[in-house]
């Protein structure tokens, strides 16, 4: 294909694109699904109840589809109503699991922990958060703004003020750095 050909290409959707950014909430009982659907719709989320994909082996025979990026915010809403999903998985690949790997880099005075695409760095002497880097969701600059300059004990938790999967990854980095610094 010539460059001109590439230039004039029109975007063409992939067959599965409409589901690429969606996730599934799996609950134990249908009554929880009904409660969760009502709660989330009332809160303004675009969710829908559907049958589970074949890869899902647990839970009842209904699941809720939701915008996966907003997982952290949505789960916080559910937990406030004492609703805890059994599983949360991407629609496109229900067997995928969130990242559980951490990379730790010791700069001497400073310690950096990376979880997925998010990095959190603290001053090991004062336990002050000195930097948040990585990520691409809009809550990342907000999280950095609220956390940098505060100590690990006084900074707001990403799970409390974040909203997206980047915020979720930062929460994991935060938990790991708390573990690393709890001497």
């Amino acid at each position: 294909m010539t460059w001109l050909g590439i230039f004039k290409r029109q975007p063409r959707p992939r067959p599965d694109e409409s589901q690429a950014d969606l996730g599934i909430l799996v609950f134990s009982h249908t009554s929880e699904v009904i409660r969760a659907e009502k709660l989330l719709k009332t809160a303004g989320w675009q969710v829908r109840v559907m049958g589970p994909p074949s890869e899902i082996q647990s839970g009842c025979d209904l699941v809720i589809e939701f915008p996966l990026i907003e997982e952290l915010n949505l789960v916080r809403t559910l937990e406030a109503a004492q609703l805890s999903p059994l599983q949360i998985v991407p629609v496109s690949s229900p067997l995928m699991k969130p990242v559980k790997l951490f990379q730790v880099k010791d700069f001497g005075r400073y310690l950096m922990v990376r979880a997925a695409n998010m990095k959190l760095t603290v001053d090991q002497e004062s336990q002050v958060i000195v930097n948040v880097s990585g990520g691409g969701c809009p809550d990342v600059p907000y999280l950095a703004q609220e956390m940098v300059g505060k100590t690990l004990t006084t900074a707001p938790r990403p799970k409390e003020i974040g909203h997206t999967l980047c915020g979720y990854a930062l929460q994991l980095a935060f938990e790991e750095i708390m573990r690393q610094c709890s001497w």
Binding site: D21, M96, G135, G136
Partner: protein, 287 residues
């Protein structure tokens, strides 16, 4: 004209468009001010200073407040869908936006109607949406870090949070991840991968690497990827070929970081102040 599309971490910040100016580490647009910090403000700060040094007019921006709930991003997507078709933009940069495949595709369809079509650069959340949508190859330049490259290389992951471990473990094998991203059709025409060593690549392979000077502390500093994107966008907007602009941007970003004598506690605004000297150094000119 260079246009940057992104979000500001300020609640209720309205949708504003216009040319940006910089004064004492504060970005000004349409009567609003916000500090140069990580995210789109850092990109704008770097782009603005670079444009000044390069003798270009200041960038334009389409901005909205969004703390991660996505409401601001969706308002901006809607605006883009309506307005882009008739806009005359030479270089268009998409940055921190809530990843949303449906809205991404509507915006890309609007871009397809632009004449002439702008050079498209994507980074951060919009790059995630571009990958998820399967439309990555419509872009001219992606600027991922190594973690984001692993996400592009994973044909199934819907977000870097779900990148599979066997791919994440390849952090020291960037060329393999680049090849994998292109094999899955999840990369732009050019990839500028930022890391200990910066890589510029196409589907044909690695075109160049930039690895000097080395400042390990930069990895910890939020916004250093945003400054790289801002510098690259400014250079592209001068008409410099994308590959040359990307390589020079990587070099300038490293020089600026080096001149700041950074520690992991350094803030990105400090690095942005060194961009003019870094640009002069990379171009072999005096300020």
């Amino acid at each position: 004209m260079l246009v940057v599309v992104g979000t500001i971490p300020v609640p209720d910040f309205p949708l504003v468009t216009g040319q940006v100016t910089l004064n004492q580490d504060l970005i000004n647009i349409g009567g609003y001010q916000f500090p140069v910090n990580r995210g789109t403000p850092a990109l704008l700060g770097a782009a603005l200073i670079s444009c000044e040094v390069l003798g270009q007019s200041a960038p334009y921006a389409y901005l909205v407040g969004d703390l991660g709930l996505g409401e601001g991003s969706r308002r901006l997507y809607k605006y883009l869908e309506a307005k882009l078709k008739k806009a005359h933009i030479q270089t268009l940069v998409f940055h921190y936006l809530q990843p949303d495949v449906d809205w991404h595709n509507r915006v890309l369809f609007a871009v397809a109607e632009m004449s002439p079509r702008p050079i498209l650069i994507a980074d951060a959340g919009f790059m995630y949406a571009a990958k998820m949508s399967g439309q990555a190859s419509h872009y001219d330049l992606f600027i991922p870090d190594v973690g984001e490259l692993a996400f592009l290389a994973d044909g199934q992951a819907p977000h870097p949070f779900y990148t599979r471990g066997f791919i994440l473990h390849q952090e020291d094998r960037v060329p393999e991840l680049i090849a994998r991203a292109y094999a899955h059709d999840n990369a732009a025409r050019y990839l500028l991968v930022k890391g200990h060593q910066d890589y510029l690549a196409t589907a044909e392979g690695i075109l160049a690497t930039v690895d000097h000077p080395v400042e390990p502390a930069l990895e910890a500093i939020g916004g250093t990827g945003d400054t790289l994107t801002g510098i690259a966008a400014a250079l592209v907007s001068t008409g410099t070929a994308i590959d040359q602009a990307a390589i020079m941007a990587a070099q300038v970003n490293r020089f600026a970081g080096h001149h700041a004598h950074p520690t992991p506690a350094t803030q990105v605004a400090e690095i942005i102040r060194h961009i003019p000297a870094a640009l002069a150094q990379a171009r072999g000119t005096k300020l």
